[in-house]
Symmetry: C2
Subunit: 370 residues, 2 copies
Amino acid sequence: MGNLLDSLEKTMLMGPGPSSVADSVYQALAKETIGHLDPYFIKIMDGIKSQLKTLLNTQNELTIPMSGTGSAGMETCFVNLIEPDDRVLVLINGVFGMRMQDVATRLGADVDTLEFEWGTPVIVDQVKQQLAEKEYKIVAVVHAETSTGVLNPVAEIGKLLVDSKSLYLVDAVTSLGGLPIEMDAWGIDALYSGTQKCLSCPPGLAPISMSDRAVAAIKNRSSKVPNWYLDLNLIINYWEGASRAYHHTAPINMLYGLYQALDDVLNEGAENVFKRHQECHEALVKGLEQLNLKMLVDPTCRLPMLNSVLVPENVDEASIRKCLLDDYRIEIGAGLGPLAGKIWRIGLMGHTARSENIEQLFKALKTVLG
Amino acid sequence: MGNLLDSLEKTMLMGPGPSSVADSVYQALAKETIGHLDPYFIKIMDGIKSQLKTLLNTQNELTIPMSGTGSAGMETCFVNLIEPDDRVLVLINGVFGMRMQDVATRLGADVDTLEFEWGTPVIVDQVKQQLAEKEYKIVAVVHAETSTGVLNPVAEIGKLLVDSKSLYLVDAVTSLGGLPIEMDAWGIDALYSGTQKCLSCPPGLAPISMSDRAVAAIKNRSSKVPNWYLDLNLIINYWEGASRAYHHTAPINMLYGLYQALDDVLNEGAENVFKRHQECHEALVKGLEQLNLKMLVDPTCRLPMLNSVLVPENVDEASIRKCLLDDYRIEIGAGLGPLAGKIWRIGLMGHTARSENIEQLFKALKTVLG
């Protein structure tokens, strides 16, 4: 009997994620489900840990995918590290910095923020000044701010925290797989990501990694983590050690997909993948400028995988997006918050970041923009 | 290039879940990913809501899958309904009742428990007595206790709560799709389930449903839900209404899988599916008794989909399970907690519940048990 799935149309996903998925990953998702305690499945789990450690340039043992989307990764990092009244500094220049503030506040943290204009990066000197005035248990920033297309100076902020007691927490949802991440060298203590951006695996998992310092903070909590599902003290026992104690039933087929997506990235070579993202970004910007479109973000801090394009005056941004989707099955993203109606967000993430896709977009845009 | 996924072996999943997955669902998982805000995807979401309402026999508008496994469903129900010091009564006769207690306690609830021997059901009269003594905001029970194979009297407990102010919270992880659930008729206010049991979709999603009373309790909280990821106040805006505001990126391909799994159940006819589970259960018990194996649970309260079998004396239960898995690729489950080493748990869930599978198990068991 037929149903809605029969009429799904192939869509080029050029928004802020999900990105287009490679056939290899679709095939992985459809592989035979085996048990979450099956020794063969444990091998796949160990494989994913190892792949993630490679891509994050970290030695952290606690490097695993959480059973939820990228936002569950954010929740995981904060809920495990925060105890009531802990002081947290969140650096905000977009939606995902604001989300960090919301998450941390709900957990009872004493949250300070430094805010920067949307479309511009975090200013390191202002962070330095703030840190000179006050000590924080956690300093949190977004690496690649998906809502604006801005790259934040994660390595430079990390340098400010060397020798401090603060834990450095980084959102790498959109950067992982599209930009180099040097988790250990940059002094990052807690990091979360998602699968549906530059890894080009469908949404549903949140890779995280915790430094030894972060793990110690979690193990030495004075209160239980107020979230059983995301409690790393329990989850470690499933992902590490000999006994592999059942916590919750792992999302098996999604993990197959992630394993395959990471395998694809590592086989192509992470450096080659980053180069492909950068080259696509440059081709996109060049073509957009030929169409007289302007970028929101200064060239010095533009993300390769998320391109914010200013909507020309007198253009109805939503109708352009609708037309691209309806007539060409190309999805691009809208602006969020103060940028709603003002920008389009064009994603070149993972499998989407290919020159033939950019050509297709230009062809469509030329017609649609008239 | 080859990898670990190439050597995955077809496995008959006869444990406590995940269950074996039908080809139709594998194919659904591998369908083209489209955007989580694509109008066509919204149609699929609406389809899932409608399918779940049918299977749960409920009119609840807030009937949706959460983006995590069954345990995330448990977390969702408690974290949205509990505010600090709220009085909660948890009825415990197995691991999943204990988990409810743990989850609720972490959230700052004032938790009372009534405990019953593992392998026996909740005794309604004792609940009645407790409710006469004390008022609770939430009364929580597991419908099908996966750790023991016991069916709890959910409808009867519901009758005790008619005209009370208590919200009735039910774990339907293992029962959904294998046993009738009359959410509205039984007076259930909050219910969660999982996909990897009798729906035979791989793990990764947690269907939940909330009555109008439960929704009112969530909307009238005096404090924000201390869990951004699972906050139903926010998630409602993505799953209901005209605007469909982005909250987190939905696990798109997993939702295709769930949609297909529910479509398969409803096409076969829920009553037929329940009958198939019951008939398989009866055939299993008969065959096990012919092998001189005994059941843990009294026939009056045995679950059809989860069968606890007493391990005969002088038999090493783990080596039998290992042998079934290694030599026959049949997975059955071990006992948990006080039942570890004492029982096997044989699941007949969803797609696994077929007579040819039971025949295969008997053939293997005869050899393995000698």
